[in-house]
Symmetry: C2
Subunit: 393 residues, 2 copies
């Protein structure tokens, strides 16, 4: 990922000492030919200072850069925390000869601690000097917290005979769902879409990706997805081009989201939960997340136990206009439940084999309509508990 580039964008990642070890923890992305920007922020009503700052600024001004740190969420830090974010983005603006309103911010890490602002201030000139077209891999590393691997993806596509690039980075969200750990993602592209069209595409791509791994309303204080577009503002995307961009963006965000789940804290399994033939998307989504979030289902996944009763129990908790006793349940192509009743020991033994795989699908066919939704989840392992019990110590 260290040779990934996107025309018109530069990036940097350095170690400042916000995190304990000598690891990358401060990053900057700069858009030298800005055209558009769209962002989605946490719906948690406790929003970190950088989230509030970015929400305010993106409404008013086209952003040209984003300053990101890991190791400290700058959340629940009151007016002082907001001042830290103001001062630091102000200094970045100065270094880049931009106005402060053009700089966004994002943070991830422990809630309730102040940023080591002086240390960051001193490091900003070094951060700006480190900017390079090939800096995105270092950004991907600098935003990691409990992730074990950096996530950085690049895709290319063409429109009207021109080549375009989409480049995305993300950091993980703890247990993924239910989660209160932060998910950050930054996407840059030289496909010069802007305004409402860009916002629509970002929302649509996020709904099937980052929002398919994070239950609505159960978000951290810092979750942020930012997309910045740049390049040749005179290029007029046709509707076919936008469709191609949309596909690429969905593909890239979907890929990043699945990488987050695969790298979930302590995860040993990656499970795709598809609820089909639901009365509507809301019911399909609610059912998929109810299953994906059940600690009992997730521990059974960890234990490789085809304990489908826990899945039926989760389905029955969703009160959304369908009869749960019509449900069929499959592990990959192995049916374990038909019409709410178990298919017997032989099928369960086959399902147990499926569950020994690292990745598989659970399909719940509700036989109550035509809507469907797919959620992604990982298991709840002994290591998840250990990681989260020890996170700050």
């Amino acid at each position: 990922m260290d040779d990934f580039t996107c025309p018109g964008f530069r990036a940097a990642g350095i170690a400042v000492g916000i995190k304990k070890a000598d690891t990358l923890d401060l990053a900057l992305i700069v858009n030298d030919t800005p055209v558009g920007a769209a962002a989605l922020f946490t719906e948690n009503r406790v929003k970190a200072a950088p989230v509030v700052l970015s929400m305010e600024r993106i409404k008013k001004t086209l952003p040209r850069a984003v300053l990101v740190n890991s190791g400290c969420a700058n959340a629940c830090t009151g007016p002082e925390g907001r001042k830290d974010a103001d001062i630091l983005t102000g200094l970045v603006a100065k270094e880049l000869s931009l106005s402060p309103g053009e700089i966004l911010a994002a943070s991830t890490g422990v809630i309730g601690q102040r940023l080591p602002r002086r240390r960051i201030e001193d490091a900003l000139p070094r951060l700006v000097a480190d900017l390079s077209p090939r800096g995105f891999g270092r950004v991907a590393r600098a935003i990691m917290t409990t992730d074990t691997l950096p996530k950085c993806i690049m895709r290319r596509f063409s429109a009207q005979g021109r080549e375009f690039t989409i480049l995305g980075m993300a950091k993980g969200a703890g247990m993924i769902c239910p989660n209160l750990a932060t998910m950050l993602s930054f996407v840059v592209t030289d496909f010069p879409l802007s305004g409402g069209s860009l916002e629509n595409e970002v929302r649509r791509a996020a709904d099937a990706s980052f929002n398919a791994i994070t239950i609505d309303g159960d978000m951290s204080t810092n979750d942020t997805v930012m997309v910045m577009t740049g390049g040749d503002a005179s290029f007029r995307p046709k509707s076919d081009d936008i469709v191609r961009f949309s596909d690429m963006l969905s593909d890239l965000m979907g890929d990043l989201a699945r990488q987050l789940v695969r790298d979930g804290e302590g995860a040993t399994k990656f499970v795709t939960i598809t609820v089909s033939n639901a009365p509507d998307t809301k019911a399909a989504r609610a059912t998929a997340f109810r299953i994906a979030n059940s600690p009992l289902v997730k521990t059974a996944v960890f234990g490789q136990d085809p304990n489908w009763g826990r899945i039926m129990g989760a389905v029955g908790c969703v009160a959304d206009g369908f009869n749960p006793l019509l449900a069929d349940i499959y592990f990959n192509d192995i049916p374990v439940v038909r019409g709410g009743v178990g298919c017997g020991d032989e099928k369960e033994a086959q399902a147990a084999k499926v569950m020994r795989q690292r990745e598989y699908a659970v399909i719940v066919d509700l036989h109550s309509g035509t809507a469907s939704f797919t959620a992604y989840t990982c298991d709840l392992s002994v290591d998840y508990v250990k990681i989260n019990a020890d996170y700050r110590s």
Copy 2:
């Protein structure tokens, strides 16, 4: 508990081999002087056969006995499972010279497996022969699944110069909240309350006890709370007497509920979560449960880490007309957050000491009204995951 008695009631518990080892797994409670009955059943839309049977029968007839088994939930077993419950309660009725409609049923254990009906049929005469006024301790043991201790409580009180008894048994609900494991409780009393008054008292007592440890709608396929009253039907309770009964019932159910949490799967901590000064009870309750159910909060409790940011994150997820940034958070009497901002390292160090205790309180003062709610929870431990990963194997 083996000398607990309640006038007019008999009970029995025997080992039939539904569970693997030679442990008690079949129980019967008989009300020889029935006056009233009230029951609360799971709101899960996937209801076990015995739940459906009991819901139907209690509407029509005053119940005189309840047959209970552990080791098999008889849920998701289709019409055959229902037939098993019909046949077994029918045979109990025959043994007791009652009509089948007077016999209720409850089951707990693995979902999706059929009851070993023949084995139970053969054992029923032995079960009935085992009935005795001192059998309640054996019932408490016979309904256990992953519980490590039986729960059985007796209380006495007087009204109009007469002595009355309330005797209650319960079995645990896995992780308690969020739970899909079964909670069963049976309460018998010779205080001869019946009809709507009894139903009101049972609902009220359950709301502050069993429903304070089990999140609404997140119930197992089998959850059941049954209260049977008997004794002298000519006794006319005065309103003072009913208040005394109500207090006793609340006290007894609260005690049982707290015992369930203390004995939660893998639990090493018992935490009382009180949300105070909320705009209304709904908001207080939603906030208390959001905290009590957060895997990140529960792992921090296990790790004895005063990571209050996870509590603030949970509070911010509740969208109920208050400003989460007004919140104060205490661990017992140690403030760690004031007005949404941390109180510093010294207070955290004191809170860490509190968290080393086996039992403590988390108080969240929302400063947004006068309503409050208390929920009870345990930690999410490494052993919880191990128990639930291995439950069926």
